[in-house]
Amino acid sequence: MTTADASTNTDSRATSAMASFAARYVLIGMYFGFVLVKAEVLSWYRIQEMFRFHSFHMFGTIGMAVVVGMVTVWLVKRYQLKAVNGEAITFTPKDRSWARYLLGGSLFGVGWALTGACPGPIAALIGAGLTGFIVVLLAAVAGTWAYAQLRTKLPH
């Protein structure tokens, strides 16, 4: 085998590793987006139902999602389960404070109720043809940018 062949082989192996990395996350996203649409949890009306306590749909959906997540995290900790690549899965405790969570969380909540969407649903809505949510996405990016400018002045 010549040197040129060897380097082509390495290149193609790197390319296929990259493709499998990309495919894995795109597929997980597609799965999640598909469920968001089919459960109608990306609907502005469904969010209105939730904040008016008129339907159990959102509470049940989020609640069941949390149960599955909790069982997963419990199993990972209890049996020290590893990721498929052999890495240990660890969890980092979040900073113990209250200001950023309550104040930032409340502002987020206002945005959630006004738009009827949060970051995941915004992406799914754009895909589902509600292209007006491109404006919502750009505004959210602008909001993140503004937070970065004010970050050092805000309580955390």
């Binding site: 006004l114 969407a117 589902a128």
Partner: protein, 190 residues
């Protein structure tokens, strides 16, 4: 075959959809050793720009490449479920919600989000502008301040029994209730 296709088209009940949404947590943990959380993507999008703010000066490809791919996947999943395999029936809304919205001057149009507020032309109306631009802005600002959104705090954080995430979710509800019951009626009346 039609029965299967109708079942796929939805809408799916909460006891089906909830566990399926929750499965995103183990999928990301086991397949990639990644923690579910989508609002970080808004930060990565800022980091792509040549901003000089230290908050955006990190290797976004390395830190957030995977998450941006998830985000792109969600757009594709939305297309698949919302257009190719669309449910022809209007979105379900509780009668009490329909009545409350009618009182505020908004009629239910069967779409995922009311066209009266979220179409491109409504961007040039005051209610449409406030809901889309102010609402979107607060999502980005608030999520980063709180360090996460519905996926990162409400699903992943609560799954990890993180006390701060419970505070954040309480905040989400305080803000959401205020906006729904006090702010929205004013905005819709403009």
């Amino acid at each position: 075959m039609d029965i299967i296709l109708d079942a796929v088209r939805g809408p799916w009940a909460w006891y089906v959809a909830g566990p399926l949404i929750g499965l995103t947590v183990p999928l990301l943990l086991f397949l990639g050793n990644k923690r579910f959380g989508l609002s970080s993507n808004l930060r990565h999008m800022c980091a792509i720009t040549p901003s000089k703010n230290p908050f955006f000066r990190y290797d976004w490809r390395r830190e957030g490449g995977w998450n941006l791919l998830v985000f792109a996947g969600i757009v594709a999943g939305g297309f698949l479920a919302g257009i190719l395999l669309a449910n022809p029936a209007p979105v379900q809304v509780a009668e009490s919600t329909t009545a409350a919205l009618a009182q505020a001057g908004l009629s239910v149009d069967g779409r995922f989000a009311p066209a009266a507020l979220f179409s491109w032309s409504s961007l040039f109306t005051l209610p449409g502008f406030i809901v889309m631009v102010l609402g979107g802005f607060l999502i980005g600002f608030g999520a980063r301040w709180a360090g996460g959104c519905t996926s990162g705090h409400a699903i992943m954080g609560l799954s990890e029994l993180q006390w701060p995430s419970l505070l954040a979710v309480a905040g989400f509800f305080v803000g959401g209730l205020l906006a729904t019951h006090l702010l929205l009626p004013i905005v819709l009346g403009l």
